[in-house]
């Protein structure tokens, strides 16, 4: 048992115990902790991408959008709970000559309702959209293009001022969450630990999901959708369900992401953001939950390193990653390691 899972345990020990400990004794800056906390949120979203793209073979360009739905839900709650004393409206609404809080903002005054909506809205959105799209058997490239257009359209809608979501500036300027000061190191550490905990939970959930019969069916859909149809599986329903699950997982990432970044803008939901999420998974190894996590952490780590060392080079690196991953790393890094392992320690398959 322990031998089988030694890497997972190592991973858990490093991030759950060693890194916070290193901070407590002063080896690591609190900003590094927050940075990793953010990476974990991306890793959560990456698991969602892996479920829908890696396992089911549906290339969805809306994962970043669902991520933002979660983040906006959290952001709306934080905006309302952080209103300066004496004001009843966020500043950007006052600038837009709005006198009363719009109806759809009102539930976000309470934390539980806000969280419920932050998860429910992307789920409902995914269910409705998925229903119409999967019903007419739009898939593959067509699905990618349609979702791309959807992401673009939603980006434009969120960027408008009159949709009351903060326009291109997004939502920002939060000071406290549930009464805790967001700028204090303890809150940041707590958010880090929560993010990591949630990542572990989502990981275990995804792992179980793909091992289940449902998960196997997803892989079957990826490999041959029509055969699944012919064997009387309701492929459309499978697609919708996994689309909704992926959306909710992305939204969870978004909810945790916002308090650690302090700002959410429509730019996060662009097509580019979604495609980047896909490349995390592709690099890590599609069709492998741990691959998604590794890919997300690795690419974001590289992003931080490159943008601080040589800002001009990052897009070349990212572009190169896309190409190299697709051309040479079919199974991603995880696949690469498996191949190496096969080469050096050939295991006789006897199962």
């Amino acid at each position: 048992m322990i031998k089988d899972n030694k890497y997972y345990i190592l991973f858990f020990v490093v991030f759950m115990i060693l890194l916070p400990l290193a901070y407590v004794v002063g080896l690591v800056d609190i900003n590094t902790i927050t940075l990793w906390g953010r990476y974990f949120c991306f890793a959560i979203a990456a698991i969602g991408v892996d479920l829908i793209w890696g396992y089911t073979g549906i290339l969805s360009m809306t994962q970043a959008l669902f991520f933002c739905f979660g983040a906006y839900g959290m952001g709306m709650y934080l905006t309302l709970s952080n209103l300066p004393a004496g004001t009843t409206l966020p500043a950007f609404m006052t600038w837009n000559q709005v006198s009363e809080l719009p109806l759809f903002w009102q539930p976000f005054e309470s934390f539980p309702a806000a969280m419920a909506l932050a998860l429910f809205v992307p789920a409902a959105f995914a269910a409705v959209f998925g229903f119409f799209v999967f019903r007419s058997r739009i898939k593959g490239v067509y699905f990618a293009i349609i979702t791309q257009a959807l992401a673009l359209a939603m980006f434009l809608v969120f960027s408008r001022n009159e949709t009351m979501l903060g326009g291109t500036n997004g939502l920002t300027d939060f000071k406290t969450i549930l009464g805790f000061d967001l700028r204090s190191s303890n809150t940041k550490l707590a958010l880090y630990i929560i993010s990591f905990g949630v990542l572990c939970l989502v990981f275990v959930y995804a792992k179980n999901l793909v091992k289940s019969k449902f998960g196997k069916s997803l892989v079957a859909i990826r490999d041959s959708e029509s055969r699944m149809r012919f064997t009387a599986y309701k492929v459309t329903n499978y697609n919708i369900v996994i689309f909704v699950i992926a959306a909710v997982i992305a939204a969870i990432g978004g909810i945790l992401y916002l308090p650690q970044t302090g700002i959410i803008t429509p730019g996060r939901m662009s097509v580019q953001a979604s495609i980047e999420m896909v490349v995390w998974v592709a690099l890590g190894g599609r069709g492998s939950v741990k691959g998604a996590v590794i890919g997300a952490l690795l690419v974001n780590l590289m992003y931080s390193i490159f943008t601080s060392l040589m800002p001009g080079a990052w897009l070349y690196v990212l572009g190169g990653l896309f190409i190299v991953t697709v051309l040479y790393l079919d199974k991603g890094i995880v696949g690469l390691f498996d191949q190496l392992k096969q080469k050096f320690y050939p295991v006789k398959s006897n199962s």
């Binding site: 799209v133 673009l152 070349y316 572009g319 896309f322």
Partner: protein
């Protein structure tokens, strides 16, 4: 016509004496010599008199550019250091040394303020004069009528004269004489121009008791509005067609490439960008190496060059990357997205952020079909260019040997290979062709926007929608859906706002795909969906 006006003008000059003897005019001299005793009286007289010369004189005073040389009033205009006489009829010479500025106090200048509303009318620029007249339509008073009439007689520019006549109509609407009013109303009803709306509204309010007259004015306003709606509609239709033709140019290449090899080329937009930058480079080459008179040729030259540069770049990318990705659409989407990122960054490194191409002079301006409906030449040119490229593409595809091979590989790769078609070569050539088309699109886009490294991204998603809606690899489908999406999105933008128009458009496409999942013109027969 011009001759007639000149003749008329000369005859007029012979008769209207006071204008000629301006220099000897006592009022003018009093101002020039700043005779304090009778200054106010003289200023008052000038303001009352309001001849064209007086207005020039007053404008020079109000804009603080009045000079004199002995008894001659002089002025100079912005951006020009030469002194010119205020009164065009002055023929006496003056020496430069004797020129003095006539400095007047604020109070003295203000004595002429009642003439300030005419200052625009004597501007050297026709558009400023037109603006001045348009202001008079609703703001003019009855006493302005003679001066406007005088200006109409002197005006040489056809457009300005029309605008002056409109101003006169606006003024006549305020006349005491009912006949004048009727005449003005009649003229306005005839012209149906939007510039009269304010004047008519005022008129309707003023004559509120007289129901007949108010109703008459209101009905003219309604006429005008109806015409405006019509003009707007046509204008939107036109910009929709123009948008559609750009979409078509971009989507044509995409569709061909996807149809042939199942490659989703996300970097297609960057080939558009390369075409645009080729045009930009061509412009710089012409500026540097050729005489200015040849400048306009750069654009004509850059069209084939854009095709070639983008095509070669496409060939390079195809050889390096795409050839591994045929029939792996989703992977190709990711890899070409990477290519697109790198190309954008490369371009940003080389060219910086924003550059622009100056449209050649023969594409400036446009045709004014009816008043208020302007069809710009550059948009017409884009539509023409698109039509030309579509015809060429059609001929290449359906009438040439290469096209035959391309269609054959598109339909069945293995079978084509069996009958001796070099499919690899066809792949490369097709990709080159598609990229080249994108390059031409880029060349066209320089006419209507800036040249920026990520310009290709603007149209790429829309172009994909065109491909999806039209049916992959179908020329007719691409044309129909590009025009449809272009025109519909402009019409939706007209009814909703731009953003919501886009959302509605997307909704319609999704609903459309419910019924026709394979696009407008799907392949006939049943194909297996799975690879």
């Amino acid at each position: 016509m011009l001759k007639k006006i000149l003749l008329l003008f000369m005859v007029m000059l012979a008769f209207v004496k006071p204008i000629f003897s301006m220099e000897q005019d006592s009022c003018i001299q009093i101002i020039l010599q700043k005779d304090k005793v009778s200054f106010d009286e003289a200023a008052h007289q000038i303001c009352e008199r309001k001849s064209i010369g007086d207005i020039r004189f007053a404008a020079a005073i109000l804009e603080k550019r009045l000079y004199k040389s002995q008894t001659i009033a002089l002025t100079k205009y912005k951006g020009n250091d030469d002194y010119v006489p205020v009164f065009s009829t002055t023929s006496i010479g003056f020496s430069k040394d004797s020129i003095q500025e006539v400095k007047l106090s604020r109070k003295q200048r203000l004595a002429f303020s009642s003439l300030s509303k005419y200052c625009n009318l004597i501007s050297a620029k026709p558009e400023v004069r037109i603006m001045g007249y348009q202001l008079l339509i609703s703001k003019g008073v009855l006493s302005d009528a003679p001066i406007v009439k005088a200006f109409i007689k002197e005006e040489l520019d056809e457009k300005v004269r029309l605008s002056a006549q409109s101003a006169l109509m606006g003024i006549m609407l305020r006349s005491e004489d009912l006949k004048d009013q009727d005449e003005a109303l009649l003229q306005m009803a005839k012209s149906r121009s939007g510039i009269f709306v304010n004047a008519l509204k005022d008129y309707a309010e003023l004559n509120a008791e007289d129901a007949g007259r108010a109703e008459k004015a209101n009905s003219i306003i309604r006429y005008i509005h109806r015409k405006e709606v019509f003009v707007n509609f046509i204008q939107n239709l036109f910009s929709g067609i123009s948008l559609g033709s750009i979409l078509l140019l971009v989507a044509l290449g995409l569709s061909i490439i996807y149809g042939l090899g199942g490659v989703i080329n996300m970097s297609h937009g960057e080939f558009v960008m390369i075409g645009a930058y080729t045009t930009f480079c061509m412009q710089q080459i012409f500026i540097a190496a050729f005489p200015p008179a040849w400048f306009d040729f750069f654009y004509i030259m850059s069209i084939p060059f854009a095709f070639i540069t983008s095509g070669l770049m496409g060939l390079l990318i195809e050889r390096l990357i795409i050839k591994h990705l045929y029939d792996r659409p989703l992977e190709s989407l990711l890899a070409t997205w990477g290519v697109s990122l790198m190309l954008i960054q490369l371009c940003r490194t080389i060219f910086g952020d924003v550059t622009a191409v100056k449209a050649p002079s023969f594409l400036n301006g446009g045709i004014e079909v009816i008043e208020g409906l302007m069809l710009p030449y550059n948009r017409l040119f884009i539509i023409g260019l698109t039509a030309f490229m579509v015809v060429i593409t059609y001929l290449v595809f359906n009438k040439s040997r290469l096209g035959l091979k391309i269609r054959s590989v598109t339909q069945n790769r293995n079978m084509s290979s069996c009958v001796g078609i070099n499919t690899k070569q066809i792949d490369s050539l097709t990709f080159m062709l598609g990229s080249g088309l994108a390059g031409v699109a880029g060349c066209a886009m320089t006419l209507i926007g800036n040249v920026v490294p990520d310009m290709g991204q603007t149209f790429i998603v829309d172009s994909f929608l065109v491909v999806v809606t039209g049916g992959v690899g179908k020329l007719v489908g691409t044309i129909v859906s590009a025009m449809g999406i272009g025109v519909l999105s402009k019409i939706f933008e007209f009814f909703f706002q731009a953003v919501y128009g886009k959302v509605v458009m997307l909704g319609i496409i999704i609903i459309f795909l419910q019924f026709k999942p394979k696009g407008l013109f799907p392949d006939k027969g049943r194909h297996s969906d799975d690879d």
